[in-house]
């Protein structure tokens, strides 16, 4: 079926490491990096130290929990530090003009992967008084990047010089009803997403239902599904996430287990242990192509999560 992650004749083939991994059969590991609310590229490089070995690519988050260094600059800093970036782009803050302008700039700097998201509402990321944009939604952004890969901008003008970007999208397996969830996933893949990173999985049994539904529809063949995993740093973090974000589903049992673990250090260890167990359960699930490690401001945990894959 045309339009769903397949490369059309007149479309430039993305040549990122992530793109070639998706073409292959290997288990893929990506992670998310949240840029600092500051100016230091050295800070990004310091985080990148933990994000090199065994990872195919690392997302540079786009103002996910407050104003931060732009994901474009952070992507460049990651690249300089030897990490292949996935440039995250939310439609909350930029209209189609700014989005495509930034994408052209990103391509000119050598960025080859983009993750298209709508983004949290501004009231969830600490700027409730800000106006939002939402000129286009994530699916329309995916379609727009696909059109750029075919050589045209959203206004119909031709792109001068080449443009090639591997397109990714996100999914929340816990979004109900499942039927509606699948409509959304189908549309993202039909619009041009080649890979899907999911929200963090804490309940593997529930995730399996979602993955199985996607597999039955053939969606796991058309896009690489990477399951999100989150090494929680403790019960406080878990409670905060559960309270503030409706897209993050943390079962009460996980929170209870963290609390029972003891002091802060013991809870952090337990969070890692829970994450490692999740990774082990996820690995080998039919239709799953890899994992995506989400550990904001806790990059050091990434190699520890990856140890569970060995």
């Amino acid at each position: 079926m045309a339009g769903d992650g397949e490369i059309r004749k007149n479309e430039m083939k993305p040549d990122s490491k992530l793109a070639s991994k998706i073409e292959g059969k290997d288990f893929i590991v990506t992670a998310e990096y949240v840029p600092p609310a500051g100016t230091s590229a050295a800070a990004v490089e310091a985080g990148a130290v933990y994000l090199r070995d065994g990872l195919t690519a690392v997302n540079a988050a786009d103002n996910v929990n407050g104003i931060a260094m732009s994901s474009l600059a952070a992507s460049l800093a990651l690249m300089k530090a030897g990490v292949e970036p996935v440039y995250q782009l939310v439609t909350r803050d930029r209209n189609r003009i700014a989005l495509e302008s930034d994408l052209l700039g990103a391509a000119s700097l050598g960025i080859k992967n983009v993750l298209c998201l709508t983004g949290y509402h501004q009231s969830l990321m600490g700027c409730p008084e800000s106006a939002n944009v939402f000129d286009i939604d994530s699916i329309q952004l995916i379609a727009a990047v696909k059109k750029m890969n075919e050589g045209s901008l959203i206004d119909g003008r031709k792109i001068d010089g080449g443009f090639s970007m591997l397109i990714g999208a996100v999914a929340n397996p816990s979004l109900k009803p499942l039927d509606l969830n699948m409509i959304r996933l189908r549309k993202k893949i039909a619009a041009g997403a080649s890979f899907i990173q999911t929200q963090a999985v804490f309940d593997v049994e529930a995730f399996k239902l979602w993955l199985e539904a996607a597999r039955k529809e053939g969606l796991t063949e058309r896009a690489a599904i990477l399951a999100g995993v989150w090494p929680l740093t403790g019960a406080d973090e878990a409670k905060l996430l559960a309270k503030n974000y409706t897209d993050i589903d943390i079962p009460a049992g996980v929170i209870a287990r963290l609390e029972k673990a003891g002091d802060a250090e013991a809870q952090k260890k337990e969070g890692l242990a829970i994450c490692a167990e999740t990774v082990k359960k996820l690995k080998g699930l039919p239709g799953l192509r890899g994992i995506h490690i989400i550990s904001p401001a806790n990059e050091a945990a990434v190699p520890q999560v990856m140890a569970a894959l060995k």
Binding site: R92, R96, T118, Y120, H121, S123, L124, N132, F134, D135, I136, D137, S138, I139, Q140, A143, A144, I154, V170, A171, N172, S174, L175, K176, P177, L180, I183, R184, R186, K187, A190, A191, Q199, Y245, T246, D247
Partner: protein
């Protein structure tokens, strides 16, 4: 209807300080129905201003009048004499009414006593909800008669965001997720296939993004 809410009394008193003869001007249409700027509210506002004037020694002389529609010159004329006599007008009309009065009386200070909120309906007694963002190109046919431009906090046109949980919006759990409503409604009327289509980016040029809008009906011009 247009739904508005009264500004606070201290805020209004502050705006009016320095004026003596004040006309509180109500509007008999939308703001009467939403209990913000009709005859009854004009009377309450006038009393509040008199009390404030006495307490703070401001010397306000407050008069009251309510006309049928502040957004229509024919009705504005009925208030012309009272407006001319006043030093300032406190309009309890919507934003359109305030501006219509100000345009007609170029040398008269006209102030807004309301915050104009939205285009909506009376959901239940004492509760008004927004239904239309006046985008200028109605998409209701596509979404089972439920507007995602207005009722989804992110104006999403292709399905819910990941934050929709238990039919509630990620921004505020008191708010229904518009996309859950759209999904249910399209299912109920047998039009769920509409959701499979990828909706193209909206042309916002018909909205306020294109600048203030004008409709000219040649067949109605004299």
């Amino acid at each position: 209807m247009i739904v508005a809410e009264r500004k606070t009394i201290p805020e209004i008193v502050d705006i009016l300080k320095g004026h003596k003869n004040i006309l509180v001007l109500g509007c008999g249409t939308c703001v009467t129905v939403c209990l913000a700027g009709g005859e009854r509210e004009v009377s309450i506002m006038a009393s509040a201003l008199r009390i404030a004037s006495r307490a703070q020694n401001l010397g306000f002389k407050v008069s009251e009048l309510t006309i049928e529609r502040q957004c229509d010159n024919i009705f504005i004329e009925q208030a012309a004499e009272a407006i001319e006599k006043a030093d300032a007008v406190l309009s309890l009309g919507c934003g359109a009414g305030v501006q219509a009065i100000a345009e007609r009386f170029a040398k008269k200070p006209v102030y807004a006593g309301l915050n104009t909120k939205f285009l909506g309906i009376l959901e239940e007694r004492g509760t008004w909800t927004e239904k239309c963002a006046q985008c200028g190109e109605c998409v209701l046919a596509e979404y089972g008669g439920i507007c995602p431009v207005t009722r989804c906090a992110k104006h999403l046109l292709n399905g819910p965001c990941g934050g929709s949980r238990e039919d509630r919006c990620e921004v505020n759990p008191d708010r229904a997720c518009a996309w859950q409503l759209i999904y249910k409604r399209l299912k109920d009327i047998g039009q769920l296939d509409r959701l499979e289509k990828i909706s193209a980016p909206k042309k916002w040029g018909t909205s306020l993004s294109g600048g203030p809008r004008v409709i000219v009906r040649e067949d109605h011009r004299i």
